[in-house]
Amino acid sequence: MEHYFNPEVECASREQITAWQNERLVKQVERVYNTVPYYRKKMDDLGVKPSDIHGIQDLHLLPTMTKDDLRDQYPSGLLAVPMSECVRIHSTSGTTGRRVVAYYTQNDIDLWEECCARALAAAGATKDDVVQVCYGYGLFTGGAGLHGGSHKLGSLTLPMSSGNTDRQLQFMTDLGTTVLCCTPSYAAYLTESINERGLRDQIKLKAGIFGAEAWTEEMRRDIENGLGIKAYDIYGLTEISGPGVAFECSEQHGMHVNEDHFIVETINPKTGEPVPHGEKGEIVFTSITKEAFPLIRYRTKDIGVLNDEPCSCGRTHVRMSKPMGRSDDMLIVKGVNVFPSQIETVLLNCGYPANYQIVVTRANNSDRIEVQVEMTPEMFSDSLKEISAREKQLVTALKAMLGIYCVVKLVAPKTIARSEGKAKRVIDKRDLYKG
């Protein structure tokens, strides 16, 4: 039997969803125009007035936003309510040390948590379940989002945060966890650990919600078979709220976008022209209920396909495919967003040349990122100790910038492949977007 958190909304008619979107969009555009100077300027530059926007059919008239706009307006230039109305922030890492900070009012938190509760319900969770949240807690939205969703649903919530596998497994077996929330790579790691330790018959897991990084259908099968559970994908981004912007249902074929809160479009990343449903395009969101940090037509840089065919689960909200690639050079490694320019900044700060190569691999469902740097006369020494110390400094600086451990490999000068005079910066051997 399909579980819903809010069936009236999740299974509403298309007419009803459109009516909500029209009303909320018009209000939101008017509000940001009047409260956020940056939006007013962007709209004025395009010659668009709030009165031109009558509903979602006029969405394409509005300017789009990118991460650059967010960085430009760091830390609070896009705030649409007085700071005193905000109760929390979350943040993602950004290039050159500039982060993206997203603000939330209490209402924003409530709506976000409801989105996550819908995702948990779609995975079969009820108030009788035990939900183990092993996404990171803190600035990252993963932990807080699923934690709040689990609360809303009334499930027993285990706020484990990431890491410490021994403790994860102990709680999982002792407290009878039924729903696991973490990154797919950590789920794969836990699957292995459980089977290695012969704990399979001591766990009560029935479902998992795995997001924040790309994963393949093969990986889904491995986890499902390895744990005897159903594995569900979840999509989100801090800029729009966090996990729960879209989620999978029992059909496991595309993620339902919570359309009462987020209008989703696909556009041609080069021309910005709208792309019809069923065709690949860059996914763009407009948050129509967000109070503190609303974004109009935010370009995610994720490439995907929208599907408005009826779903067997009974939900009527449009489904988006798993991201099939990026329209920029961002990598997602161990669930963390990594831009090559961040690595470049660290290298230059540490005195290394900007000639480098990033090699990302995945073995046993775990990501590994290697940064290859060419040795220079300035960095060279006859002492292994000195070179190794510099290497360690670089690893520490990369960890501070990216939040993940990178392997540094020093290579001989002029050995990094250059194509047409320009180095190929990233080699991603994971084939995440295949098929």
Partner: protein, 145 residues
């Protein structure tokens, strides 16, 4: 009172050292001593050659990252206990050894130790005071003639 050592960055892969020695051979450089230090992903080869400046020039032309370091060379007798005596002198005087390697000269019953220390002057002073005289590059070359 020091000799000039050349240190060269080498990738940790099959053939890297062979390529390097081929260049020395091609340019007629005489190798007096060689030592290799390795980490997980790279190595440093340290060599003593007859003409360090010419060698550096050639290596740089070939695209190697390399440097010259002044190290201490001492002659010790090729017999049990000779090495201990010298090391005791350094240890007793708080001279820390970064790395060290040995080679044999043409002269019978004689070996050379290359010593890399933080403070060359101090090491030379304590060795000399104890009757061990470090040699310079030209002295060393004479031993091979």
């Amino acid at each position: 009172m020091t000799v000039k050592q050349i240190s060269v960055f080498l990738e940790n892969r099959p053939g890297a050292l062979a390529e390097f020695t081929r260049i020395l051979e091609k340019s007629n450089m005489n190798l007096r001593a060689l030592s290799l230090a390795e980490s997980e992903d790279f190595g440093i080869v340290r060599v003593i050659v007859d003409d360090p400046f010419e060698t550096i020039r050639i290596l740089k032309d070939e695209g190697y990252v390399c440097s010259i370091t002044k190290v201490i060379a001492v002659e010790i007798q090729d017999k049990p206990g000779a090495l201990v005596r010298m090391l005791n002198i350094l240890g007793d005087n708080q001279v820390n050894l970064e790395y060290s390697y040995a080679f044999l000269a043409k002269k019978a019953n004689s070996a050379f130790m290359i010593l890399r220390v933080e403070d060359n002057d101090k090491a030379i002073k304590v060795l000399t005071q104890n009757g061990i005289r470090p040699i310079c590059h030209d002295d060393m070359e004479k031993m091979f003639k």
